[in-house]
């Protein structure tokens, strides 16, 4: 195995897992919040929020990466503030995670939003009459009932994060051990004649990982659905 992939490739695999995991996990609470707001609230600027969330999907990834660089870079308006707090994203794996999270965010929000919309408001009403405040209604009824969609959305986001390339390399470059994820490594291999073999090996690794995640999400989804039953 260790022969099959060189240490640099293994490093890329480990980094990709780390980046995707944290990108997904850290954006989940915000994803759920935004999805809920879009599904259940109406407020001025809702369509604008909706649009912003979807931007990374619409724009070529390079553009997104460039926008991230301009805003979150150490000299950027947001990045400089973060830097004052000691949070540096540039050229760090954390920045790669941010890029991956931003790119995966629309997918996560879409999936979660759809499943929140599918929760019967009558059950939420029942919960409210039983004394649950909106936040408790959300935690005890909406959230668990939307769980299959949340799992689906999370895994989808994870898969997307594993595959993200354009925004990542533009925002945080390609530094072995910090920001060289599997897709960056694949891209580098594909640029030179004869690099295909190494690229294929990495493709296989990322397919295996993502498929595993998908299978897991299907299993969780099915178990949750079975629990909720035909009710």
């Amino acid at each position: 195995m260790t022969d099959w992939l060189g240490p640099a490739e293994w490093q890329a695999v480990a980094l990709s897992l780390q980046v995707s995991f944290w990108a997904t996990l850290a954006s989940l609470p915000l994803g759920i919040f935004v999805a809920y707001a879009l599904a259940r609230w109406s407020f001025p600027g809702k369509q604008i929020l909706n649009g912003i969330v979807h931007l990374p999907l619409i724009l070529p990834p390079v553009v997104t990466g460039y926008v991230l660089l301009l805003t979150l870079g150490t000299r950027g308006p947001v990045g400089s503030v973060l830097a004052d707090w000691g949070v540096v994203l540039a050229f760090r794996w954390t920045g790669a995670a941010v890029a991956a999270a931003v790119m995966a965010f629309p997918l996560m929000v879409r999936a979660i939003r759809l499943s929140i919309e599918a929760v019967d408001p009558k059950l939420e009403q029942a919960s409210a009459t039983l004394g649950a405040s909106p936040i408790w209604v959300f935690l005890t009824v909406t959230l668990p009932m939307a769980l299959p969609g949340i799992v689906a959305g999370t895994i989808l986001a994870f898969a997307k994060a594993m595959g993200e390339f354009g925004a990542t390399i533009t925002f945080v470059s390609n530094i072995p051990g910090q920001t060289r994820t599997i897709p960056s490594a694949i891209y580098a291999f594909l640029q030179v004649p004869g690099g295909e073999d190494a690229a294929v090996r990495l493709v296989i690794v990322s397919v295996v990982v993502a498929m595993g995640a998908l299978l897991l999400s299907e299993m969780i989804g099915r178990r949750v659905a079975a629990r909720v039953g035909g009710a």
Partner: protein, 232 residues
């Protein structure tokens, strides 16, 4: 009539000037597909309807030649370029690029932005220069690689990286960076853009376009974009 040229994306500006000139001069249609040299080469391998290929990377042209996809005796090196060291800001101090350059010292704990040093031409040339100057090992851990030169330039332009190595043609148009030095041409393989007609193309315009590329009008156009045209 129409002729299809697959050209490296870094030629974008030059190609659009050439397109106008060629069409005006001959009345024929010039269709230019701009992408990474590797993508274009692979497409040609898969039967893309390219009449002419202009690569930023001699390796890919070599590969196509090995595959028998390049029309015999049509390949030539089109234009020349230089790689330069750029620094963030408009008033950075010039440095002398040579074996004595304290690049690591200049960088401090900052990054050196480059195109991918193993696979993108500008990165390959930059790494070769640094190696021949004996500087590579001292700066290697600090290199931030990007998928193309423009992205490397962007890192310097926004101040994310204090220095970067890019093509001279890229550096001139960017106001927020300063070219602080040029790598001597003998420190890296010649930076050439090989052009050739494709073996599978039977377009009668091929030869006239290749001739046009070598002509004075085209040369002027390349020079306007900062290229140095290779002398035959």
């Amino acid at each position: 009539d129409e002729i299809t040229v697959f050209a490296a994306a870094s030629m974008t500006n030059a190609m659009s000037e050439l397109e106008m000139q060629f069409e005006a001069a001959t009345g024929h249609d010039l269709v230019v597909s701009l992408a990474g040299s590797s993508a274009l080469a692979r497409q040609i391998q898969q039967g893309a309807p390219a009449d002419i290929f202009i690569s930023a990377n001699p390796d890919w042209m070599d590969r196509l030649e090995q595959d028998g996809l390049v029309a015999a005796d049509t390949r030539f090196d089109l234009s020349n370029n230089a790689i330069v060291l750029v620094a963030a800001g408009t008033d950075a101090a010039a440095v002398t690029v040579g074996p004595d350059m304290d690049l690591a010292g200049l960088l401090g704990d900052g990054r050196l932005a480059m195109a991918l040093v193993e696979s993108v031409p500008a990165g390959i040339y930059g790494k070769a220069s640094l190696e021949s100057l004996g500087l590579w090992d001292s700066v290697a851990p600090q290199v931030a690689q990007t998928d193309n030169v423009r992205a490397a330039l962007a890192f310097v332009a926004v101040g994310e990286a204090p220095y970067g190595i890019v093509y001279a043609t890229d550096a001139v148009a960017e106001d927020s960076v300063t070219v602080v030095g040029t790598f001597p041409p003998d420190t890296h393989p010649p930076i050439v853009y090989p052009a050739a007609a494709m073996a599978e193309s039977d377009n009668p315009l091929n030869q006239s376009f290749l001739d046009f590329l070598r002509g004075a009008e085209a040369r002027a156009a390349f020079e306007r974009q900062g290229f140095v045209v290779v002398a035959d």
